[in-house]
Every structure is written in C-alpha cells, then in structure tokens.
C-alpha cells in the first residue's frame, strides 16, 4: 500500500513538474500561430525525454552516478567543458525565464509590476533551496503544478470542433501567413521545450538526492513512463486551447496573460485563479529545479560535493554557485528584458545543447560497469540512436533558422 502511494505520488509530481515556463509559452504560442499542425513535435519530444530520462534513472539507480559525471567521464575534460558551458548557459537562461514567469504570475494576480515581485521571487527560490528538504520541495510544487489540469478542463469546456483539431494535428505543414522556415523553427522550439537538458540533470541528480537503489527502478520508470506522457498531454491541452481561441482571432501569444486567457474564457474567475496558482507553482518549481541544476552541472563536472542530502556548509561551493546564478538571473531581469522572449530563446538554445548531453547517457546505459544486467536492449538503442540523429539535426538547424526567420517572425 505504501509503495502504491509512493508510486502514485511520484507520478503526480512528475505530471505537475513536467510543465514549466518553456512549455507554457511555447505551446500557447505555437497553438495560436499554427493550430495543432505542430502537435506531433510534442509527442516526438515526450517520447524522447521518456527514453533518455529512463536511461538516466536506470544508471543512477544502478550506479549512483548522475548525468554530468557521465559526461565528464566519457567526453573527457575538454569536450566535457564545452558541454558544461553550453548546458550551464542554457540552464541559466531557463532559470531567468522561470523567475520571470513567477514574477509575471504574481503580477497577473496582484496588478503589482513584475519587476517588484522579481527580487522576492529570487529570494524565495534561494530560501527554499537553502532550508527545505529535497523530497518535500519536489512534491509540494509538483502537486500544486497539477492545478494546470485546468488547461485540459478549459479545452473541453470551450467545446471545440474535435474533428477539426484532429484534422490539424494530422496535417504537418505551415498554414496562413507562416512558411516552412517558421514552421521548422517553432518545431525545434517545441522539441527543445519538451527535452530541455536540465530535466535530465535534475532527474538524475534527484535520484542521487533520494538515494535510489535498484528497488527504486519501478518508481523511476513509472514516473517517467506515466508521469511524463500525462505532462505531455497537458502541454497539448495548452496548445489546443490557444488553437481554439486565438488562431481564428489572429491573436499571437506574447504575454503570460494571453497564455492563461483560454482558461478564463472557459471557466471564469475561479478558473483564472486556479490557473494562476498552477502557473506560479509550475514556474516556481522549475525555478528550483533549474537553480539546483546550475549547481549540479558545475559541481559534478568539477567533482565538488553537491546536493541537498548534506548540510549546506558541507557543499559550500555548490550553494555558492546557486546563489551567484540567482543573483545573475535577478540582474538580467532588472534590465527589463521580456521574460517571455527570454523563454522563447531559451528553448531554442536548449535544442542546440542537447546532442552532447544525451550521447554519454546512451553510451553508459549500455555499459555493464554502470548498469549491470539492466543494459539497453536493441529496441531502446535503436530509438536512442534515432533521437540522437534528430537532436543533431535540430541542433545544427537551430541557429540558421533563427537567423532566417529573425527569431520566428
């Protein structure tokens, strides 16, 4: 019974934790501009993150080694450093976007300008990391993030023409004023939003924080194979709501307020209240995850003591990295950059950093030194290689497409 409870809790947490500012903004934006014509990318992305997160979970449960240990071991100090710089910068960019998202959610709820909320949000993130136990922080924000289910409820309440949505979803091509370049660009953005590198850093380091062993494999796998796809469905609901409400009206999503608008239209003030709490929890939870991931990547590359399973003073450099990152995020946001635009760029840059992050995972998930008998089978390897190829193509195409489309215009 206790085990079932634990597994259920893990799944619920994974659903709520799956959606972050990148998924919120990118899915709504794409839904408004392309309808569901890009929905297939979400599905491809979710399968990809399931595949690789499961490999990480297995490696951690069997060997206790988190992802960046593997990157340094298999790619060596030089290529490892390149990967570190790329994934650290992307994660920092995502942290900036998440903290901006927390502040924007508070602004929408209170009417007080987001720049005033922002230092408070950054401080709260630090305080939670400093004082709250890992498992508690993960559960509280994951469960609160579940409130985003209102996006799905809203989609049903809006009473869309399901046949037409299906029609859109099965026709993968640009529509209206869009062309193939913007279509591909936002395809990469969605891919990056679903497979952001910090997800595997956090997932695998979290496995170490919670001291996973072989017996936790069931939990790890159920989180990944049930929680993530349901989180992906949530992403699709966000996209669907935007497709129903905004596409016919010619509205482009550029603010977080617009992202939440379909819920208000469908469910009124109560719905809006719930979605704002959900957005707050999802972005705050993701801010915790990205801030921790900034610390995890650097500490694991350098071999420093890291983690919340020891007292802060025993992992002093790890905590200093986190504090510095939060200060950097705050300073960047104080220049009044638009957090929504930061988000749009962060998911594309995420797509670029992916291949180097995922290659060592695939290699080590085959190595009996690490995983013993639990090696990848031929099917997993075939899928893993297909995704590695996809990631490489997306990574190479990201910058040229960004230039051609002038950032998606």
């Amino acid at each position: 019974m206790k085990k079932v409870l634990g597994v259920t809790l893990g799944i619920l947490t994974a659903i709520g934790g799956f959606v972050d500012i990148g998924d919120l903004v990118t899915n709504a934006l794409v839904g408004a501009r392309f309808g569901l014509h890009l929905a297939w990318v979400v599905i491809v992305g979710v399968i990809g993150i399931c595949l690789y997160a499961e490999m990480c979970g297995r490696v951690v449960a069997m060997s206790g080694r988190p992802v960046f240990d593997l990157i340094r071991e298999r790619l060596g100090p030089r290529t490892g450093l390149l990967t570190l710089v790329a994934s650290f910068l992307v994660t920092l960019l995502t942290l900036i976007a998440e903290i901006g998202g927390v502040a924007l959610a508070l602004e929408l709820a209170s009417g007080v300008h987001y720049l005033l909320w922002m230092p408070l949000a950054a401080f709260a993130v630090w305080l939670v990391i400093w004082r709250v136990k890992f498992s508690r922080l993960e559960q509280v924000f994951g469960l609160l993030g579940l409130l985003l289910v209102v996006f799905a409820v809203a989609l049903f309440t809006l009473g869309p023409d399901w046949g037409q949505l299906l029609h859109q979803a099965t026709r993968p091509h640009p529509i209206g004023h869009e062309n193939w370049a913007t279509y591909a660009y936002y395809g990469i953005a969605l891919f990056g939003a679903a497979m952001t590198p910090y997800e595997v850093f956090f997932f695998s380091s979290g496995g170490v924080e919670e001291k996973w062993t072989r017996s936790d494999l069931v939990t790890a796998r159920s989180n990944v194979f049930v929680g993530f796809p349901l989180g992906g469905l949530l992403s699709l609901a966000i996209m669907g709501g935007a497709a129903v409400l905004f596409l016919p009206a010619g509205i482009k999503v550029e603010t977080l307020g617009q992202v939440t608008l379909p819920v208000a239209v469908a469910l009124g003030k109560l719905g809006l209240a719930i979605v704002l709490i959900g957005v707050f929890a999802a972005t705050f939870g993701a801010a915790l995850e990205t801030a921790l991931s900034c610390g995890y990547t650097i500490a694991q590359y350098r071999g420093w003591q890291w983690g919340k399973f020891v007292r802060p003073r025993e992992a002093s450099r790890f905590h200093v990295v986190i504090i510095v990152c939060l200060v950097l995020a705050m300073l960047t946001l104080l220049t009044a950059v638009d957090p929504v635009q930061v988000t749009e760029y962060s998911v594309v840059f995420a797509a670029m950093a992916l291949p180097l992050t995922y290659l060592p995972i695939l290699i080590v998930a085959n190595d009996p030194d690490y995983v013993g008998e639990e090696k990848n089978g031929p099917v997993r390897n075939a899928f893993g290689l297909v995704y590695l190829a996809l990631l490489t193509v997306a990574s190479a195409a990201a910058i040229p497409l960004m230039i051609i489309t002038k950032g998606g215009q």
Partner: protein, 100 residues
C-alpha cells in the same frame, strides 16, 4: 573489491575523470585529473592519482568502481570548499542545519 587481484582495468576509461570519494565520510572529493605511472619499476605500476594540485598515492586507493574511493586522511582535498565555507556559507544563517 578490496584485495581482489587479477582484475583488468583501463587507465583512461576506468580512472581518468572519475569521481573521487572520501572513504571516511563518503563526501565527494574532486575528479581524477591524471594518473601517475612508474614505467621504470619492475613491474611498471600505477603510483598515484592526481587531482588538482594534490597527489593521492596508490596505497590510498580503497576501491575502484564507477567512482574511486580513497582514504584521504591528512590530504587537503577540500581546501577551496573549506575556504568558501568559512568565508561565505558559514556566515549565512542555517548553514549548519540539515534542511527540513
């Protein structure tokens, strides 16, 4: 696998860039940045692991798995961590307590 003999390892694959763990408290203690070999000895052997500026002699190696456990004893592997701890982290309230 202490004491196990005849085990085959590859220096680069199994030692280089691996995580070091302090046997005494299980704390993470840096990466293996280099391996020192004595090729003139008979037979030639691994004499030490290098991490940062510290040299960990082979006799301190306790276990080699997906990480390398060493007995740190009087070596100062935590120099920088201690510095940061004493100058920054310990000054913030709550640094000594486990999170709740």
């Amino acid at each position: 696998m202490p004491g196990e003999s005849g085990r085959v390892l590859h220096a680069q694959l199994h030692l280089l860039d691996r995580q070091l763990i302090d046997q005494a408290d299980g704390h993470l203690a840096g990466k293996v940045d280099d391996v020192e070999l004595d090729l003139d000895a008979d037979p030639p052997v691994v004499t030490a692991l290098i991490t940062g500026r510290e040299r960990i002699t082979a006799r301190r190696i306790v276990d080699i798995t997906t990480a390398v456990t060493v007995s740190v004893e009087d070596l100062d592997l935590d120099y920088y961590d201690d510095w940061v701890e004493n100058h920054v982290i310990a000054k913030i309230p709550g640094a000594r307590h486990a999170p709740e």
